[in-house]
Every structure is written in C-alpha cells, then in structure tokens.
C-alpha cells in the first residue's frame, strides 16, 4: 500500500479531513483565548500586547503558514469528497429518506463549510490583511499605539480596528451568522473527526460527543459575543 493509494482511498481522504479538522479546532482554542482579552476593559492593552507577542514569535509565524495550509487542504478535500459523494446516486428516490437517524447539520457539512469559507474571506480581509499586509501597496496600515510609558515600543492597534469594524450592524450580524455556522459545523465535526481517525471505544466516544457539543457551543458563543459586546458598547 503506497502513500498515494492510502490518501486517495475513501478512508484516507476522510483521514485528511479529520486531521486538518482537529488541527483547526486546536487553533480555535488559541484564537478565542487571545480574543477574550478584549473583555479586560483596559482599552485593549492586554489584547494588543498578546496579539503583538504572537505576531513577533517565530513559532507562531510558522504555524500561521501551517494554519493557512490546513484551511486550504480542509476546504479542497471537503469539496472533492462532497462532490464525489453526491455523484454516487444518479437516480434519486421519489420519497426522500429525510432526517431519520441523522441531524440536519450532520448532513449539511458541505453547506456549513462553504458558509464558513465565505465568512473566513471576509474575516481575513477585515483583520489579517491590514495587520500583516498594511503599508504594502494601497492597503491601509493599522494605527500604532504605545503601551511602554514612552519607551518607544509601538504595537499594532488591532483592538481599535475591531472597535471600528464592529460599529457596522450588518457586519456584526454577518459575524454572528458565521459563528452559528461554526457551532453547527463543530457539533458534528468534532466527534466525527475522532471517529474517522479510528476512535471506537464507546466510553471515549460518549465523552467526546459531550465534549464536542460543549466546545461547539461555548467557543462559538464566545466568538459571537465579541462583535455583539463591542457593538453594544460593553467593551471599554
């Protein structure tokens, strides 16, 4: 069995989805933790310091490339698998099977993933592009802020960017919808990923089901509360 045979088989392709999916889940933990610093109510000092620490660390710079690779592989493999699976029944049923034994979001991972991709494009445009590419060509750079009591250390004021972006109610709504898509995507994806990599002990599967649902709801709700709390002026 060659690597090619393995990674082009049905289970091999699912394995790619699971591994990249679990990696993206671990990224969410870091992302939600850092972003929660906006609630320190210190005019963004903790958040900006944290973001700057991440941006200036080599490990994180390398992981940023791995992260983009993970998103791209997860997306392409997902689209390839969805298209292949949808082509396996050319003549359909007159009476549809419906939702017996499966949840709608479990059957809609392709759709939820596509919504998440659209959300990600908007999200990257709002924050990653000005933060990383600001100053290049016509891209407006982020404002700088000094927290070093005059020692001259300048930080990107990513916090101010968040405050400005989330003044638009339409964008807040789009972000909340993105978080809802994320929640449903994870409700299925978290447990399913572990099943796909071969976890079959009932005790762990049961544990992961609860953990996955808890993770999906808590992380997505925390993300959704960020634009909402900024828009409502709860963050100072």
């Amino acid at each position: 069995m060659t690597w090619k045979q393995m990674f082009t088989s049905s289970i091999g392709q699912k394995f790619v989805m699971a591994i990249t999916g679990i990696f993206l889940i671990t990224f969410l933990v870091v992302h939600v933790g850092l972003n929660a610093c906006i609630w320190a109510n210190d005019n963004g000092e903790m958040f900006n310091t944290g973001a700057n620490f991440m941006a200036s660390m080599l490990v994180i710079r390398i992981m940023e490339v791995v992260l983009f690779a993970g998103i791209i592989i997860h997306t392409i493999q997902g689209l390839v698998l969805t298209a292949a699976n949808n082509s396996k029944r050319k003549v359909g049923y007159a009476v549809e099977y419906g939702n017996r034994g499966s949840k709608w979001y479990s059957r809609s991972m392709g759709l939820l993933g596509t919504l998440l991709l659209l959300f990600l494009i908007m999200h990257i445009y709002h924050f990653w592009v000005p933060s990383r590419l600001g100053g290049i060509a016509n891209i407006k750079p982020l404002q700088e802020i000094d927290y070093s009591n005059g020692l001259g250390k300048q930080y990107h004021n990513l916090y101010l960017e968040m405050i400005q972006v989330f003044q638009n109610p339409l964008i807040v709504i789009l972000y909340v919808l993105g978080c809802i898509s994320l929640a449903y995507h994870l409700m299925h994806g978290f447990e399913s990923a572990f099943r796909t990599i071969g976890l079959h002990n009932n005790r762990y599967l049961k544990m992961l089901r609860h953990l996955g649902r808890g993770f999906a709801i808590i992380v997505s709700a925390a993300f959704a509360m960020m634009p909402i709390s900024i828009y409502l002026g709860w963050v100072k």
């Binding site: 045979q5 393995m6 049905s10 007159a94 549809e96």
Partner: protein
C-alpha cells in the same frame, strides 16, 4: 392484536431491464389482511397481474424469515419500511392503515443498478467479500471449537457484527451511498476474533480498495445507516474499520 382488512393504493417502480427507463405504476389492492407480510401482499397483487395476463412485479426474496438479506424494498422513503430492525419480509400489513398509499422503490445507488422492477444487482457486495472477507484454515479434520480461547466481550461484539445480512439497506439509506456499515461489520466480525488475525491487515486494505472500486461513497458519520439497519449493526463498527484500515496502511512496508 386486532385483525382487520384494508384497501390500499400502491405506487410501485416498474422497470423492464437495466437499460430501460422506469417509472411508477399505480395499483389498487383490496381486502388485504393485517396478518399478511408485505411480500405476501405483493404476492397477492402478482397473482392478480398474472391472471390479467400482465407481467408480475419482480422482487428479491428467499428465506422470508429475516435472515437471508434478499428482500430490498424502499417503502415510503425508508429501506425495509416503517418498522425498526425489520426486513421487508418481516414487515406486516398491520403497519399500515386502510386507504393508505404506499410508495415502493428499489435501492438507489450507482453501485446497485436496477435489474428489473424492484430487483437490484448487489454483486458489488459479493466482490467486496471476495476481496478479503474470509479466513485461512488448515484442511483436514475440523479442529476443536474451544481450542483457541476467545474473550467473551470480543466474541459478543464480533457476533453482533456478524449479524449483518448484507441486504444493502445501509447503502440505500446513506446520503453518500456509502457501504461502510456493511464493510465495517464484516471487518469487525473477523478482526475481533483470533481466527481473523492472519489476514487482518490485508483484509482491511483489500476490502476497502474493492469498496472504492465498486463506486460506493465515503462515510460522513451521520448515522442514517445505523438507524435503518434491520440487524441493528452499530456505527461504532465504522470507527473500528477506520482504525483497522489506517493502522494497516500506515504500517505497510511499501514506500
């Protein structure tokens, strides 16, 4: 249980052969006993069709006691009909009410082409079994059944997986037309027993390769197969199949 007779309207898929374009035909059946099985009800309709000089409805059936896996009707949007853990032959007409309309379709999947009416070609399953669903035994006298100790828990799990009758309802119910519940049942059945160990790795690799070659989809763990399986094969077997396949292919010697 109360016994009653009913009149029904049946919409049944008719298709002359594998290449013909099929369509639904509507039939009325009268005085159907609630004690009949679904297949006996079709038998009654076929008697009428034969008496009228028409072509009877072709359908697969053999044991009529729920163990052969031949009968394969998609009734009102559900493989094997509305009852849980039941094959069509064990589905009785008391599942329906007088005056009801029942839609009957064949299994739908590219890998299960319709041969005629409600009969589909499920030889893809046979070829998957041929690819690895066996064990090697020495010829000669039968060995003592208790000579190899088997852990009770594993024996139970193996037996539960071995209950799969290869009817194809999992494929019929799956939105991806995936055969993984079937393949995982066969793999689990043998992988859990010491007798299955000599070919454990090659079995997983070869059966999955044949499954892909036959054109079945991949599993997305939605659970429709488990919900419809007449033998209640658990979806956990698919996770075990994944483990068997991945460990076999990752530990393979080829580069």
């Amino acid at each position: 249980m109360e016994h009653y007779n009913m009149n029904l309207t049946l919409k049944i898929w008719r298709q002359k052969n594998v290449n013909a374009k099929g369509g639904f035909e509507t039939y009325k059946v009268t005085d159907i006993s609630s004690e009949m099985s679904f297949l006996e009800m079709i038998d009654v309709l076929n008697e009428d069709l034969i008496n009228e000089g028409k072509d009877p409805i072709a359908f697969d059936h053999d044991c009529r006691e729920g163990i052969c896996g031949s009968c394969s009707m998609y009734i009102n949007g559900k493989p094997h009909g509305p009852w849980k853990a039941t094959t069509v032959c064990q589905l009785h007409m008391r599942a329906f009410k007088d005056g009801e309309t029942i839609v009957v379709e064949p299994w739908r999947a590219n890998s299960f082409p319709v041969v005629k009416d409600l009969v589909v070609d499920r030889s893809a399953f046979d070829r998957i079994i041929q690819a690895g669903g066996y064990i090697s035994v020495n010829t000669g006298n039968a060995v003592d059944g208790n000579s190899i100790p088997v852990d009770k828990d594993k024996a139970d799990k193996s037996f539960a997986a071995a209950a799969c009758i290869a009817c194809g309802a999992c494929v019929a119910a799956c939105k991806n037309s995936s055969a993984m519940l079937f393949v995982s049942a066969k793999i689990s059945h043998l992988a859990l027993l010491p007798q299955g160990h000599p070919e454990r790795k090659s079995r997983a690799i070869n059966m999955v390769a044949q499954m892909d070659k036959e054109g079945f989809g991949s599993c997305t763990n939605i659970g429709a197969c488990e919900a419809t399986c007449p033998k209640e094969i658990q979806i956990t077997n698919i996770a075990r199949l994944n483990a068997e396949y991945l460990s076999a292919s990752l530990s393979s010697d080829k580069d």
